[in-house]
């Protein structure tokens, strides 16, 4: 078989399995929504449904890298909150706003470095470390702002968060698509991306093959911290005010987006195309349910059900197929018991 046709058949396999399923679901959601809500298909609504969750889907990109790598970063939303709170705090104390933004971004970087140190260098479990840091960074954010809410940021900052930059597209959306392209190139078309997959598939094998496992993990956690801090600032700009509970509880949404996209929680497999489709599905379901007047909790519940089904149905199908195969092998003609 030539290389080209094997690539095509691999692509076909892909489409048949996960991404194909996601496209079907997305199509169904799309159809259903456009029947229910007449103003669903307007460009304004389509952009709006992105903008309402833009910070989450930006962090979902780095989370995809981490989960494919076999790790997880639960502390990302707390870093979002911390960076926004530090900016607001420094700004309220009279620091120049640009400097405040830079300091917040470097704090995000430092948080990522701190997580990465314990996980990549010391070797602790990322779920536990980032769970502890989820509590810790959130606590630090509260230390800065206590019970206050700080707003009245400079005009240009609010403009970036709330107004459209190019045509109907706001700044954050352009950033998201730029980051998406960058992430696809790095993950699927670079040596670094191959290493990320290799580590997630089998850390020890990767190490013995000469992959610098700690360095790559460290880079991913730093990137996660930096991107989370940036997303926190975007959220602050969009809301126009900052409180200690900014981005509280986003971790579940972000992880759902990645896992529904077909990324294995055990690492080593998944793709950003799948994650992008799952982001589209989740945002459209939220939008449709929102237009039909369901609360945020119910929307999350529906998405949770979808998440379980997305793993359960292929499992059951696989089991069913295995039973059929066994029947065929152990049919009356062969008669060998298993």
């Amino acid at each position: 078989m030539s290389t080209k046709s094997s690539v095509i058949s691999a692509l076909w396999q892909r489409l048949k399995s996960w991404e194909g399923l996601l496209i079907l679901i997305l199509g169904a959601v799309f159809l259903l929504n456009s029947f229910i809500a007449p103003n669903y298909l307007t460009i304004g609504n389509q952009i709006n449904l992105f903008v309402l969750s833009i910070e989450r889907i930006i962090v979902a990109l780095t989370m995809t890298f981490l989960i494919i790598n076999g790790e997880i970063d639960l502390s990302a939303p707390s870093i979002m909150g911390l960076s926004a709170c530090v900016t607001a705090y420094l700004f309220s104390r009279g620091t120049d706003f640009g400097t405040a933004l830079l300091i917040s971004l470097s704090i995000g970087l430092a948080c990522g470095l701190f997580n990465g140190f314990w996980i990549a260098i010391v070797g602790l479990n990322s779920l536990v470390v980032t769970l502890a840091m989820l509590i810790c960074y959130r606590g630090l954010a509260r230390v800065f702002l206590e019970d206050r809410s700080i707003g009245q940021f400079p005009e240009w900052f609010n403009f970036l968060g709330q107004k459209n930059l190019v045509g109907p597209f706001p700044f954050a959306l352009i950033v998201f698509f730029a980051l998406l392209v960058l992430a696809v190139v790095v993950l699927h078309y670079s040596g670094f991306g191959r290493r990320v997959f290799a580590i997630g598939d089998n850390k020890d094998v990767a190490r013995f093959s000469g992959v610098k496992v700690p360095r790559i993990k460290l880079i991913l956690f730093i990137a996660s911290g930096l991107v989370s801090a940036f997303a926190g600032l975007l959220l602050a700009a969009r809301l126009g005010a900052v409180r200690g509970d900014l981005a509280l509880g986003f971790e579940l949404d972000i992880i759902t987006m990645v896992l529904l996209g077909g990324v294995s929680i055990f690492g080593g497999s998944g793709s950003l195309y799948g994650v992008f489709l799952s982001i589209m599905i989740i945002l459209n379901i939220r939008n449709g349910l929102g237009l039909a007047n369901f609360s945020g909790h119910v929307q999350t519940g529906v998405i949770g059900t979808l998440l379980i089904l997305s793993v359960l149905v292929p499992n059951l199908a696989g089991e069913f197929r295995a039973v059929l195969n066994r029947r065929r092998l152990t049919g009356p003609s062969r008669g060998t018991p298993v």
Binding site: W118, V122, G123, L124, N125, L127, V128, V129, L131, A132, M133, L134, I135, C136, Y137, R138, G139, L140, R142, V143, E146, G249, L252, I255, T256, L259, I265, F266, S295, H297, V298, T300, G301, V302, I303, G304, T305, L307, I308, V311, L312, N315, L316
Partner: protein, 353 residues
Amino acid sequence: MSFIIRRFRPEQIRELFLVVLIFLVVVFFSIEIEGYFNARFVNRISTSVVVVAILAVGQTLVFLTRNFDLSVGSIVGFTAYFVGQQLWHHPEIPPLAAVALAIGVGMLMGAINGVLIAYGRVPSIITTIATLAIYRSFLVEYSHAVPITTNNLPDWIVNLPPLSLFFVGEVQVRVLFVIMALVVLGFQALLNYLPFGRRLYAIGSNPDAARVAGFPAQRIVFIAFLLSGGLAGLAGFIFLARFGNISVLAGIGLEFASIAAVVVGGVSNMGGSGTVYGAFLGALLIDLLENSLFRWQVISEFWRDAILGMLILLAVAIDYVVIGRLRVIWARAGLQMQAEASSEKPEGTVHVD
């Protein structure tokens, strides 16, 4: 040295370390805060630790099988609301029936988790992240945003938290604390002495080996989640009794609190190692710190979570470095003893932790 190694396991040394740490925390704050340690404080801690401690017991069972239960916060919220509403509309329900109702509802939710994880082979973190959201949405739909308040509840449940069985000096031994103590002791006994308990450890330390050895792995994991759900239901009942006012937000964040307690208590998130006592001590230490930092004037109360997070990290790091080292020493000594024993009597087997 060999005496210590023969009599104690690394986990027990760890628990001893936790006890010492709890003691040091109490001594430290007694010096720092005027009138810190007295009977009232003991009473307060013994009431406030109950919910998280019971959740930590259930979380331990699940952790031992190398799984997670992130849905407990929503189970607590839903059962607290559900039982509260039943008591509101049917005040004649006897107390024991109310407790049974809470445990039953919790078990039902735990069973859903268990079926999906054990038989549907959906990874536990995916399942329970999802059911965390699903159970919360049940609560939101079911409650129609009408909160339960203390005024709606029958008197016996409102008066339950300060109710004491007996007194030791001024220290009250409260009913809720006794329930928690029975749960902790009972489940530790289950882990130590019943085949089911030993199998939990076996499955967590090596799932493949346990399956090949013929353990009903799926059933055991299912039961672990069933029990975790039931305990979360019990915790939900106690949550209702303690707070009285239940909104749709009840119990949010308890899943992280229970995991924190279990991790500080030395239950390994890779399964197969840890005790219920450890989980209880972890819950106690965290609760003690929360209650103490709150009263410490030197730093603002907002530092509480930041310190708590660092503490959990520290506990895990110490566990990894020190306890890991101890285990190596123990294993070596165990092999040595085994060698000595086998030179004396060939059939002798020595368990190596």
